[in-house]
Symmetry: C2
Subunit: 254 residues, 2 copies
DNA sequence: GTGAATTTGAGAAAAGTTCACATAGTCAAT
DNA sequence: ATTGACTATGTGAACTTTTCTCAAATTCAC
């Protein structure tokens, strides 16, 4: 029967982005390469893989790596974002109610999230979908008008939606951070929404990759002194650092 | 220079799921196949394509077709669903407020939607994301608890969200349809949500592929007589058909 | 058991891919 | 105009993978 062999191949396809034909032939010495080929054909049919020269690429990895690459102009700093995301994950506690902002950094965080009992509220539909993989988390998607640029909902409906939700820890990614203007973003309704989150959450964790530093955009949603912690790669500008120390804002280096 | 050639190839990759090497070689008679290969390599680097035997598969299509295929057990009847979706699209009118249910049929419909000025409200985050490609449509995503099985939001928050929204035409896909029990689905909160949609929408269009016929699931959200039209492939069972005729429910064959 | 259907194997032919090196064109500075 | 660095492209042989077809083996239902 092929069922066991295919199950193993399927697991491999779920665990790595590429499975080579040779590797499979060695792994299953008692069937011919032709059979393995047919298995690969089968998985291609199933939409689990794509046949490429020398083996198969796992659909799972194709799609999740895509999520990063489509907004292709702005995919700078991916390793940095990943580092921030990892640090952020360390701050999670089982059973808590978490808010995840939208954006690529949060997308990364969502994909790296361990299986854990969490309630996660997010404004990013792509993030919500990513979170469906984590079987133990409860996913709460904020409703509202969807913004093309940042794949994020906002607007009055979104605000009303958030009114009834309690948040223990909110992870927020501003578009700019500056000692004078505080945390800023470029869009009015997004700003209102973030303001509300800041108000409601017990702890605010801000993820700041260096590209955001000393930038200031039209709308301020929060002063630096009101947050609980900053996660950053690189070093913060002197003035931000001083402000943080003065107001007991924890600084975490990724 | 290669820039023009690559631009053309890129457009092709955006317009169809597979571009063959031969096709490209014919299209560009003044460069060698090796050059085309290198172009393909380039697009693979860029994450726009995946090199496969004989050409390249377009990343765009891989990812959007994935959305259908992941709930892989239930991907039956895809051509049928596509036919239904096309018929449904014919019923749209510019400027209207539309509701799209979640599910694979609706996903298909979303991807086939023409560029048009519409306001679309949906319970499917994947559908909302797909709709981001249609630059002219306003996308409204219903918030709420996200259900893993059908990638759909529901729950009390979702109901409240829908309270303030006006809908001209709602496209709904039940899990079962039967003359006695009406339109049914398998999940309580999903049922409540669909009930609300049925109440609020001026016109209800139900998409019924044959796999749903004469099936009845635990929760009824609507009687057959309350809908405006049924789009179906194949033929409806006698009793459903009679009921439809009696209550002026239009029957559209895809 | 028997027959039908499915799964598998083997090997050669066909097709596609890679590689290394040669050639040609581009651009900027001299 | 010349040079040199650089990129883009072409060539053809060596190589690898894939496909194909048909026969053998296995499984399944009755």
């Amino acid at each position: 029967m092929h069922s066991e062999r295919r199950k193993i191949i399927k697991d491999m396809l779920h665990s790595k982005p590429f499975v080579s034909l040779n590797e499979l032939v060695e792994l299953f010495p008692d069937v011919s390469s032709m059979t393995i080929r047919r298995d690969i054909d089968y998985f291609e049919q199933q939409g689990e893989a794509i046949k490429v020269r020398g083996g198969a690429r796992s659909m799972k990895f194709i799609t999740t790596s895509m999520e990063e690459e489509f907004p292709s102009r702005m995919q700078k700093n991916i390793p940095a974002k990943e580092a921030l995301a990892k640090k952020a994950i360390e701050l999670l506690e089982t059973g808590r109610s978490i808010f995840l902002d939208s954006g690529t950094t949060m997308m990364k965080m969502a994909s790296l999230l361990p299986e854990d009992r969490l309630t996660i509220t997010t404004t990013g539909p792509n993030i919500a979908i990513e979170l469906l993989n984590k079987k133990q988390t409860l996913v709460n998607l904020v409703g509202g008008m969807l913004n093309r640029d940042n794949i994020s909902v906002s607007g009055t409906q979104a605000l009303r939606f958030l009114e009834d939700i309690n948040i223990d820890i909110a992870f927020i990614v501003p578009s700019g951070a500056d000692a004078q203007t505080g945390l800023t973003c470029g869009n009015y309704s997004e700003c209102e929404l973030k303001k509300m989150i800041v108000e409601k959450a017990r702890k605010i964790i801000v993820l700041l990759d260096t590209s955001k530093l000393d930038k200031s955009l039209p709308y301020t949603f929060c002063a630096l002194e009101n947050i609980s912690a900053i996660i950053t790669n690189g070093t913060l500008p002197r003035d931000i650092e001083e402000l943080a120390v003065k107001h007991d804002v924890q600084i975490i280096r990724a």
